[in-house]
């Protein structure tokens, strides 16, 4: 895996100070919220890796740390074997990892035409020689399926789907190796969502992009991605190839998450919910396993020991962070509860 891994994160930790700065100074201690709390992740070249989890699980923060727009406190992010600084990356490094954001209404400069935006990028980063900037812009717009006269348009003249195309054009303009897409279709209607997903898939194949796809929509993830990493309270709790994860999840949280997806086939709504309760406060994490307060198979050992991500003995690509991941079957347990 690590041999062809293009992107490698080891022990990444990102935390945010909470509460007042004055109070912290008076008490000589600052409360920290660990949004990402020790994550190891390797992404192979050309693959599409999904990062899923509920809000507050740290998936966006991890993505931002990887893209270099959020400083990581600890840990290392390596691109192609080279360690990237946690902040103030060089332009050349910035260029290699690009990001597409969730809300195309706020992630584009409202005062800049599409052409202005792309020209600036191409010039500043010397992507193509100056005389070719204009023709290259046209080519980029064609690649994302926008008409060429879109060059003169402002973001507000576009629909949500078209804006997301502009955002994608902006990201691929720099010929990145890794594209980090943070919920790129969540704000879009379902028929528009399909066009953007198809576009991402085509571009990935065409440009050989490595895709880190953050989403809470598991149907979209199953459709688009090769591998899935599930996050819970700042940790990765299960990683597996997509089909393995959907067919035989080993962590009880993953099993619950999958069971909670609304299905087209009418289900029995009278039973108990797939996962009970709310996630704990990230400032008062449970001892031991972070999921134990909601876990249907929690045992005394779960309160004492924090389970590490362990690899399956049968499938080296499947790992889970549960004491019983490779003994009991959480999927079965979750069903019977």
């Amino acid at each position: 895996m690590s041999a062809q891994a293009i992107l490698e994160a080891t022990g990444v930790q990102v935390s945010f100070p909470v509460g007042s700065a004055l109070g912290a100074r008076l008490r000589h201690q600052q409360h920290l919220l660990h949004a990402v709390d020790g994550v190891d992740l390797a992404v192979s070249r050309g693959e599409a890796l999904a990062l899923v989890g509920e809000s507050g699980s740290g998936k966006s923060t991890l993505a931002r740390a990887i893209a270099g727009i959020q400083r990581a406190d600890r840990g290392q992010i390596k691109l192609d074997g080279k360690v990237l600084p946690a902040h103030r990356r060089s332009r050349a490094d910035q260029r290699r990892i690009q990001m597409v954001f969730q809300d195309p209404y706020s992630s584009l400069n409202p005062r800049l035409t599409v052409g202005g935006m792309l020209h600036e990028l191409l010039r500043v980063h010397h992507v193509v020689p100056r005389p070719e900037v204009e023709s290259h812009t046209g080519q980029l717009l064609r690649m994302v399926g926008l008409p060429e006269d879109a060059v003169h348009a402002l973001p507000r003249q576009f629909s949500g789907g078209q804006r997301q195309r502009v955002a994608i054009a902006r990201a691929i303009a720099l010929r990145p190796e890794v594209l980090v897409a943070d919920e790129p279709v969540s704000a879009l209607d379902v028929s528009v969502q399909a066009t953007i997903l198809n576009l991402l898939q085509d571009l990935q194949a065409e440009l050989g992009l490595t895709l880190l796809f953050i989403s809470h929509n598991l149907a979209v993830v199953r459709h688009l991605c090769d591998r899935v990493a599930v996050m819970y309270m700042g940790r990765i709790i299960e990683v597996a190839p997509t089909e393995v994860l959907f067919e035989s999840p080993r962590h009880p949280y993953t099993a619950g998450l999958l069971a909670a997806i609304p299905r087209m086939a009418p289900g029995d709504e009278s039973g108990a919910p797939a996962v009970k309760g709310d996630p704990p406060s990230p400032l008062r994490l449970p001892t031991g396993c972070r999921f134990r307060t909601r876990c249907p198979i929690a045992q005394p050992v779960c309160a004492e020991q924090d389970p590490a991500l362990t690899v399956s003995s049968t499938n080296s690509e499947h790992s889970a962070a549960c004491h019983f991941a490779w003994t009991a079957s959480p999927a079965n347990v979750a069903e019977t509860v």
Partner: protein, 332 residues
């Protein structure tokens, strides 16, 4: 459809006067809800689904007006009711649950008091009675430790808990009908699952009817018996959830079904609906979907197809609905 209808919306038309002329976000919508029935209203943004729900209770923005049609609830037309009378229906006999509980709840009022307010105002309960009722409701919707949580403010609650407060408020006066506007869209999938189960159970227990507006088809499949699909201010198809989602009779419904990935059937390529929704200021001639329709014929450009009954409760506004059925048949 047995017994009297709970709610009957007929030929509802809403107009908004804008500087670019009159826009018509709802254009002739008819909808029926029987007692104890859960009806889903689906469509993309701008289709008029939320607007339809708001017009039922007279909650339209000030520049929007109901210009024709009626909303009959228990024999009287809500659109022609004076506000004083409407206030006795709103919250008392028809409950509401909105998408964003943080903006729908009063941020400076304790959640318990917000739940207790309805029974006090509408049912004439004393303070003690209404507080007791609020605690009981909080217990029913699954808010732990109601005695302590009663005195909390909305910001102290998580998104799921706030939505439970909204549900408790909607249920507080034993309404006959609850209107839900995307009640789980802002929630995480595990919390959504909890809330949907709770809603389905509570409605089953008390026989409350439900109108459920959402853009998420699987959510409708989980909660509703019947579904109406809206496009550009009109209902284009109606029927039971099972029928509409497995044998769609309108190409737009087919398009919606084919553009969303199905978590249980991966590997299908997604087929987006070509084009984009029409401007409501100048909708296309004839069938409003014809510029995007793969089966459109010449007559679709001229004839504006009404919603017509095909079999039982099944209705479609497509002139050539057989083609959609054939397409589905060819698939399986």
């Amino acid at each position: 459809m047995s017994g009297p209808l709970q709610l009957e919306v007929s030929d509802l038309r809403v107009e908004i006067a804008s500087h670019r002329g009159v826009v018509c976000p709802i254009d002739g919508v008819s909808l029926e809800i029987a007692p104890g029935e859960a009806v889903g209203l689906v469509g993309e943004s701008g289709s008029g689904k939320s607007m339809t729900l708001k017009s039922i209770l007279g909650l339209l923005p000030p520049d929007a007006k109901v210009t024709s049609g009626s909303v009959v609830f228990d024999g009287s037309d809500l659109t022609r009711m004076p506000h004083s009378q409407l206030n006795r229906v709103r919250g008392r006999r028809i409950g509401m649950i909105f998408q964003e509980p943080m903006s729908a709840l009063n941020p400076v009022m304790r959640v318990g008091n917000q739940i207790a307010e309805g029974p006090r105002v509408h049912l004439g309960m004393t303070r003690t009675q209404s507080v007791e009722r609020a605690m009981d409701l909080m217990r029913r919707v699954g808010i732990p430790e109601p005695e302590r949580r009663f005195r909390a403010y909305p910001h102290e609650f998580s998104g799921g808990m706030r939505q439970r407060v909204m549900i408790a408020m909607a249920l507080s006066c034993d309404p006959e009908l609850i209107l839900c506007d995307e009640p789980t869209t802002a929630l995480d999938v595990t919390i959504q699952d909890q809330i949907l189960r709770l809603l389905a159970q509570l409605c089953q227990e008390s026989g409350t009817s439900l109108m459920f507006v959402t853009h998420d088809l699987p959510v409708v499949a989980q909660v509703c018996h019947k579904v109406a699909v809206m496009y550009a201010g009109r209902i284009v198809e109606r029927g039971t959830v099972q029928e509409v989602f497995t044998r769609p009779m309108h190409p737009y419904t087919l398009g919606l079904l084919r553009s969303a990935p199905d978590v249980d059937h991966p590997g299908h390529s997604l087929e987006p609906i070509p084009g984009s929704p029409p401007s409501l200021a100048s909708p296309p001639s004839g069938c409003r979907f014809h510029p995007r329709c793969q089966f459109a014929e010449d007559d679709c450009k001229v004839i504006d197809p009404p919603l017509r009954l095909i079999e039982g409760d099944r209705a479609t506004a497509c002139l050539h609905y057989e083609r959609t059925l054939d397409e589905i048949g060819a698939d399986t």
